[in-house]
Amino acid sequence: MPPPRTPIPSLFSRLRTATSQPHRPDSTTLHRSVKHVIAGGIFTHIFISYIGGVSFTHGISMVPTIPYSGQPAPFIIYSNLHRRGRNIQVGDMVIFKHPTRSGQTALKRVIGLPGDYVSVVSGARDEGDLGKKAEDGDWANVKNQAFRVPEGHCWVAGDNLDWSRDSRVHGPVPLALVQSKAVGLLFPWRERRWFKNGLGDSNGVGKEQVIL
């Protein structure tokens, strides 16, 4: 007696099954997946806002340190353990809520902490400064002013002083606005590195031009 034929499972029969009888999750499975999505969102929020994460930046104000060439935007790694100015030292790069533009954040380097005296150089170049060159040591209509950083504030400045809107424009930033500290550069991938603390961070390009 020959053994009975077993039907060969074909791909078409599986397709027909999938289209005719879709797999519908029952209420337990649905409830569980919704719960997992909510829990994942909550833990993501807590991780991003209290521990750290990865974010992209825009602008040329930190150019020797964070290269910027339009798209794609550079990615940085930030640590939120330094929020509200905890353990921030002079030379760290911080991400803070913008004091005058609500809803925006900015990334600059801390130049002075409460009690420090900062020599403030007036902001951008004017039309009369176009003929001046940096080699002459006279690159803009600078006005020097000594300023003492008030209590609970910090003085921030971009590394690219010619093209930076920083404390010269919006004044000292309250340390309570500091959200995080930039820790490393992730993208562009070839220039990935951890940021060192200190002001000699630029790659020798603008080292002599950083005015303190």
């Binding site: 099954t17 829990a39 004091p99 609500s102 609970g152």
Partner: protein
Amino acid sequence: MPPKPPLRAARVSSLPKIKANSTRGPSKPARPAIPKPSSAYPSEPHGPRITQRVPPPPSRDGAHNFRTAGRYIGTGLLTIALMITTRDYFVSMDTVVGSSMAPTLSPFAHERDEQDWILIRRDIWARQSVNRGDVVTFWKPHKPNETSIKRVVAIAGDIVYPHRGYALDPAIVHAERLAGGWDGLGQPDPNAIGGEEVEVGKVVVPVGHVWVEGDNWRKSYDSCDFGPVCLGLLDGKATWVWRDWLRFREVGDERKKVKGHWTRVVPGGARREGSGLAEF
């Protein structure tokens, strides 16, 4: 030729009987059997799909095994995370320490050491509707790890004539300050018609800032001392007060109960009353 079916079913009486008073004790509850996949249907080669979950057998040692302990820990962590998220995005409660908001909040903080509980809203609707008269909590500009609660007296674009503070000190107003200073005092303008001097006692609230003051003008450290507060420092909006068990009500404005010196505010034309566009 197919095999023949059995002629008779097996007799029930042939199974071994269990005595009522057995020496082995009560038998354990049997685990429900998983139905075996049995189908020769070509569309379901592996048998029908089992949708019903088989409940696990009751564990004998309850919370003492690792699986249950891990489940308890996970539930606890999720609860804490849910509370943090609720505090960050929706609502929280806090006490009002000190008598700087005295007729309205914690009126007997000094005499009887009684503190009010307030309900702080942090949702997007509360954030977008900060306007004159609202009681807000904010991080102190001069102390990064402390919060304070005051009333928003003026928003960006308003002209404020404070009743005290740095704006009334001619030594500060006429001193050389930073260009574009955000203390609202303005800079001497050589091209102005009325004169190049800065007016003493007049503050224009800068963009992205609010002017906050306490209701108790005698004991309050507010914008008259540290200047306008930027919107990024705002933390939440105090909407409800809980003073006693039966007194849970909205935050009102009881400044009229007290006679005193008040800051005069000229509303600017940038924003009208009731159309709060400020967002923090």
